[in-house]
């Protein structure tokens, strides 16, 4: 009988399932380490950003590490961080999308 495993859309969960979604982003989450509770306490604590990231782009750690290849820049981590340790900064500042390019 024919192999039917490709008849339906199904795959193993893995980073990058929807492609390189980091280039959808117009604002980048930037961690201010001295404010992060995990960094300040020197242990894997809080991790609320990891809990709330809807795209599993944050790895637990001291402090948590954001995967910018795949982060779409939704800003939920910055909203949820109790210590305001994550700031959303426009991508244009980082030169990923040049300001001139956007204005053309």
């Amino acid at each position: 009988m024919r192999d039917r495993s490709h008849d339906i859309s199904m795959s193993r969960p893995a980073a990058g399932e929807a492609g390189r979604t980091g280039d959808w982003r117009n604002a980048r989450p930037v961690m201010v380490a001295e404010r992060c509770l995990a960094v300040r306490q020197g242990t894997v604590t809080c991790q609320i950003c990891w809990v709330y990231c809807p795209d599993a782009c944050i790895a637990q750690g001291v402090g948590p590490v954001i995967d910018l290849e795949h982060c779409k820049g939704c800003g939920i981590c910055a909203e949820m961080c109790p210590a305001s340790a994550i700031q959303m900064r426009p991508e244009s500042v980082h030169g990923v999308c040049a300001v001139e390019e956007g204005e053309r």
């Binding site: 039917r4 495993s5 490709h6 008849d7 339906i8 859309s9 199904m10 795959s11 193993r12 969960p13 893995a14 980073a15 990058g16 399932e17 929807a18 492609g19």
Partner: protein, 408 residues
């Protein structure tokens, strides 16, 4: 076969018996209008322990089909039933069930769409979702409802496509007639267990139905994956493959129980017929009465019944109609601003064929308007007269329409 029992029952009870014989594991239903007693009967059997299944009561038809989708994804055999606006309400999930290739079987007691409110019969509800990628089979009587529902699980689970078994509201759903219940062992032998395509394993998790981009591409593990269009083409091929499967399953069911229903199409006195009357569902049975009456008057009239509407048996219909003079298609539904859906499909099947009959349409029975065999015979006489007058293009004949402004 030796243990088959015959009982008098409604179409809804016949549908419930079929689900029980198929040993469905999950039944989900919204119990209020436009639901019909089919799920009420199943809920009684689940409550009494006669049917070892989960009966999930939900807050809407949308959720009823969603429960079937999730249960079918993890490998359960599922059943639900609905009608009219209930089917319309679940439309989003009707498409999901098909695209996810889940072999859900759903009974449709065909009823008219609101507005205005009606609970009575026509076939507008299921016709309106004909393009969603489900197999649609239409039944003539309560025995055919039971037999077709059992067959539907075989068809669905061998092709991974969902199946709607459509039966006329009230005319069949609430009308009692004798139905032979096959022996459970016969059905068990006919219906092997369902093996899902999906993998649901907490130790080896999968994304099921994730965002699928336009083009084929390797997934994150490097495995080549189809794009949206490839999945749709495979789905379409499965539906076309159902043309063969429906015929074969009907024949195998016949070998097991002694009853077959014509596979894709059925016919009545068609051999030498010059005029062919076409319909789906119980209207087809009424057409056989009209045809017999017209035969007695010396007209060469036969009937071609549509059992499988999706997939549409275009080649079989073309072969059956080749060389006839007139095909008169009776629709209990309408594509507003155009014509009856079966009429359109018959026309397209015959397109550009030399020797194909002239096709006329007729609209009847909307919202439960009575259609008698005498009405159908009258419509046939009018059509034969128009054909004799050389009319090729004709507006659909609205049977039993009583508009004051037409009278003025």
């Amino acid at each position: 076969m030796s243990h088959a029992k015959t009982r008098v029952m409604t179409g809804n009870e016949a549908a419930a018996h079929a689900a029980r014989l198929a040993r469905v594991q999950v039944v989900a239903a919204y119990p209020i209008t436009p639901q019909s007693p089919v799920v009420e009967t199943l809920s009684e059997w689940v409550e009494s322990g006669e049917l070892p299944a989960e009966f999930v009561t939900v807050e809407s038809e949308h959720s009823a089909l969603t429960v079937c989708i999730t249960a079918s994804t993890v490998g359960a055999r599922t059943f639900t039933a609905t009608s009219a606006n209930g089917l319309a309400y679940m439309t989003e999930q009707v498409w999901w069930a098909a695209g996810a290739r889940l072999p859900i079987v759903m009974g449709i007691a065909n009823r008219a769409m609101a507005a205005p409110w009606s609970v009575l019969n026509d076939q507008q509800d299921s016709m309106s979702v004909r393009d969603a990628g489900w197999v649609q089979l239409y039944c003539r009587n309560n025995q055919e409802i039971l037999d077709t529902l059992v067959q539907a699980y075989r068809i669905a689970e061998s092709l991974y496509v969902p199946v709607m078994v459509c039966y006329d509201g009230f005319l069949l759903s609430h009308t009692m007639m004798p139905v032979e219940l096959p022996d459970p062992d016969t059905v068990d032998a006919f219906l092997p267990p369902y093996h899902p395509l999906t993998v649901v394993d907490p130790d080896d998790p999968r994304n099921i139905g994730p965002v699928t981009l336009a083009d084929p591409r390797p997934d994150a593990e490097g495995v080549a994956r189809n794009g949206y269009m490839e999945f749709r083409a495979l789905h379409h091929r499965a539906l076309l493959g159902a043309l063969e499967t429906i015929e074969r399953v009907d024949a195998e069911y016949g070998a097991a129980t002694g009853r077959t229903w014509g596979g894709l199409l059925w016919e009545h006195r068609l051999d030498d017929a010059d005029v062919v009357l076409i319909a789906a569902g119980s209207l087809g049975t009424q057409l056989t009465v009209a045809a017999d009456e017209l035969r007695d008057e010396g007209m060469n009239v036969g009937v071609l019944g549509i059992r499988s509407y999706r997939p549409f048996p275009a080649v079989a219909a073309r072969d059956a109609l080749d060389g006839r003079s007139l095909a008169l298609v009776f629709d209990k539904a309408l594509s507003y601003g155009h014509e009856g859906p079966i009429c359109s499909d018959i026309r397209s099947a015959l397109q550009s064929r030399t020797g194909a009959p002239v096709v006329y349409g007729a609209i009847c029975g909307l919202g439960g308007r009575d259609v008698s065999p005498a009405d159908l015979a009258d419509a046939t006489r009018r059509a034969v007269a128009d054909r004799a007058a050389g009319i090729v293009d004709r507006e659909p004949d609205w049977i039993n329409l009583h508009l004051e402004e037409d009278a003025r």
